[in-house]
């Protein structure tokens, strides 16, 4: 057996050196102290408030019995550029550490350079699967600081678009989750259904994805003619197709064996880890911001909050599937009860004049110009406002210094916080369960790394 050449070894070392992240990575067992291992319990999260069973810590395990494997950042489980370092004992995962930052875009820094009107274009690309909800979150924060009221029609349009977005996000989740488990037909079905919703988005806002639609003051444009028929087609089609997914997945024995009882989490652990969204609801805690701290007009529509029991993967799957059905209910109610009126606030501080007047009146032209070059000024203050995104509580902490650009815009991404639950969920599972678990936590790396 010939020795590998020196050049090959050098090249390997160079490759490793280029992409290694030093202290951010999972350290070998010999470099980790016993107390660390005890606190880790298979996690990068160190639980101080849990009662750890001393018998479950394998401090006796020798270093050459386990293997540290790197998954990602470019890997087929299509959840984006998440790098997971796993310590494996054969097929079983002992410790796990997610290394993130591979999609860090400096959006919070860019937001300080953009005016408040342009801010929506930036924020919308954080959680790229639910752009309308990102924009809604940001617009609600800005409107709180401004102290303006949004007309009723705008509120209901925003609610309807948010729910359509929630449906499309959960459909992408079902598609990618199905594919991670091996069902490529689920991928095709989920994305096919989503095309209906995206076609409606394109008709309304002009873009399929990252639509810059919800802005401070209202929405960018009114709903197109014939929207009620479009929405009715979307709701009816997707409603009956969810029953097809039940046939394909929910009752299927292989799917159930892979998902039921895998990666459970208790309510106490979830609350301690600040996990929100379907992961928290799967443990039995009925916390949904749309119901408990309602915003927009959610207290005027009827919908159920879906809650799981065991906190395992199957519960999270069932919650998301049923949330699609609940969103369909909400969209139907919005379509029935959509009020007339303005689609954005008529406050001249925030809204440009109608385009037709620009050709006639000098004041209108100047007003338009000032609004789009300099932007409107927001009074000094700070606010934290949160909405319920398909992944959990997305919050916006906005500090204004009185100028036309935000002083500090911090978005609390739910996936960033939910990722901390992944090592705890993975402990003791096999590698194939690891993939499923990451999938059901549904991280979107855009809002993790911002």
């Amino acid at each position: 057996m010939s020795e590998p050449t020196v050049r090959a070894i050098e090249r390997d070392e160079l490759l490793v050196a280029e992409t290694s992240e030093g202290d951010q990575e999972l350290q070998r067992r010999e470099n980790t102290s016993t107390s660390e291992l005890g606190r880790e319990i298979g996690a990068v999260l160190r639980r101080n408030d849990l009662h750890i069973d001393p018998m479950s810590i394998d401090v006796e395990r020798r270093d050459d019995e386990t293997m540290i494997i790197n998954m990602g950042p470019s890997h087929p489980s299509t959840h984006g550029v998440l790098r997971l370092m796993l310590e494996l004992d054969g097929e079983y995962v002992l410790r796990c550490k997610p290394v993130i930052g591979y999609l860090h875009t400096g959006m919070e820094k860019t937001a300080e350079e953009l005016s408040y009107i342009q801010g929506a274009t930036n924020v919308t690309r954080m959680d790229y699967l639910s752009p309308v909800i990102n924009e809604l979150n940001y617009s609600l924060a800005v409107e709180k600081l401004l102290g303006i009221e949004v007309p009723e029609r705008a509120v209901w349009i925003r609610m309807m678009m948010s729910e359509l977005n929630r449906m499309s996000s959960h459909l992408v989740w079902m598609a990618t989750n199905g594919m991670d488990l091996g069902s490529t037909s689920m991928m095709i079905y989920g994305l096919r259904e989503r095309e209906l919703i995206l076609a409606f988005f394109e008709k309304t806002a002009g873009l399929r994805l990252n639509l810059n639609y919800v802005r401070p003051g209202g929405v960018a444009a009114d709903l197109p003619d014939g929207w009620k028929d479009d929405v009715a087609v979307i709701c009816d089609t997707i409603d009956e197709r969810t029953y097809e997914y039940d046939q394909l997945l929910t009752g299927q024995p292989i799917f159930r064996e892979r998902m039921v009882g895998v990666a459970p989490i208790t309510a106490e652990e979830a609350l301690s880890l600040s996990v929100t969204g379907p992961v928290l609801r799967s443990t039995g805690v009925p916390w949904d911001l749309r119901r408990t701290m309602p915003y927009l007009a959610y207290d005027q529509v009827e919908f159920d909050v879906i809650v799981g029991t065991y906190g395992d993967n199957f519960d999270r799957y069932a919650i998301r599937l049923n949330e699609i059905r609940e969103s369909i209910r909400i969209v139907r109610q919005c379509a029935e009860r959509m009020p007339g009126g303005d689609y954005r606030s008529q406050d001249p501080k925030v809204t440009p004049p109608p385009r037709a007047r620009i050709g006639e009146s000098m004041e209108a032209l100047i007003h338009h110009f000032k609004l789009f070059t300099e932007g409107f000024h927001v009074p000094v203050g700070e606010v934290y406002s949160a909405v319920e995104s398909p992944r959990g509580e997305i919050g916006c902490y906005l500090v204004s210094d009185g100028s036309a650009k935000p002083y500090r815009l911090h978005v609390r991404g739910p996936s960033f916080v939910n990722l901390q639950a992944i090592p705890l969920l993975m402990r003791g599972g096999s590698v194939s369960d690891a993939i499923t678990t990451v999938s059901t936590v549904d991280p979107v790396l855009g809002e993790v790394d911002r």
Partner: protein
């Protein structure tokens, strides 16, 4: 019993044409979806905008088996060495489509964290603009790439002849047909 009797059983053509046809009819993409553009890439591979009609629906997970790297999404500073590693692991012949404005030029994010254009790291064949480009734009980019393959060199290694940055316009290889092709027109 001469060659005339065999006339229906043989096809003749240039070797180069056959090689070019084989290369462009089954370009297998490596999955390198990073951000929002990756979702549109998945949508292009799915039902409504099927990529399978070009033989491209198999997104190979191992770069050793892939021909085409579609860089879909914004490339951050931390991701750049990984991108180069994956590109180096691909076997010749290989092509790169830079999908979206963030991959082409840095897009909306002109700041410390994003590489301003993936052509600073890997040589790019086709740029597809859009934020995100709709699947139709991506398919146009793929067909442009097919035209480039159909009219290009087969024996020369791409990475040796082509500079990464277009410094000198004279040395640039240009295809015989204009780059804006009409979709579906055979020559």
């Amino acid at each position: 019993m001469g060659l005339e009797d065999l006339q229906h059983n043989f096809l003749t053509g240039q070797l180069e044409d056959l090689v070019r046809w084989a290369r462009r009819a089954s370009v297998w993409p490596a999955s390198f979806g990073l951000a929002c553009c990756a979702i549109e890439m998945m949508a292009a591979g799915a039902a409504d905008f099927d990529l399978a009609r070009y033989g491209m629906e198999v997104f190979r997970n191992s770069p050793r088996q892939a021909d085409l790297m579609i860089v879909a999404g914004r490339v951050s500073q931390k991701m750049a060495p990984v991108l180069r590693q994956v590109y180096d692991q691909m076997m010749e012949p290989k092509w790169v489509i830079s999908m979206g404005v963030c991959a082409s030029t840095g897009g909306l994010f002109n700041n410390y964290a994003i590489v301003q254009g993936v052509d600073q790291i890997v040589p790019v064949d086709v740029y597809a603009p859009g934020c995100p480009p709709s699947p139709e734009t991506l398919m146009h980019a793929i067909l442009t790439l097919h035209e480039q393959i159909r009219t290009g060199e087969i024996m020369q290694r791409r990475s040796e002849g082509r500079p990464t940055h277009v410094e000198d316009a004279q040395n640039l290889w240009t295809p015989e047909v204009p780059v804006a092709v009409r979709v579906g027109t055979p020559k």
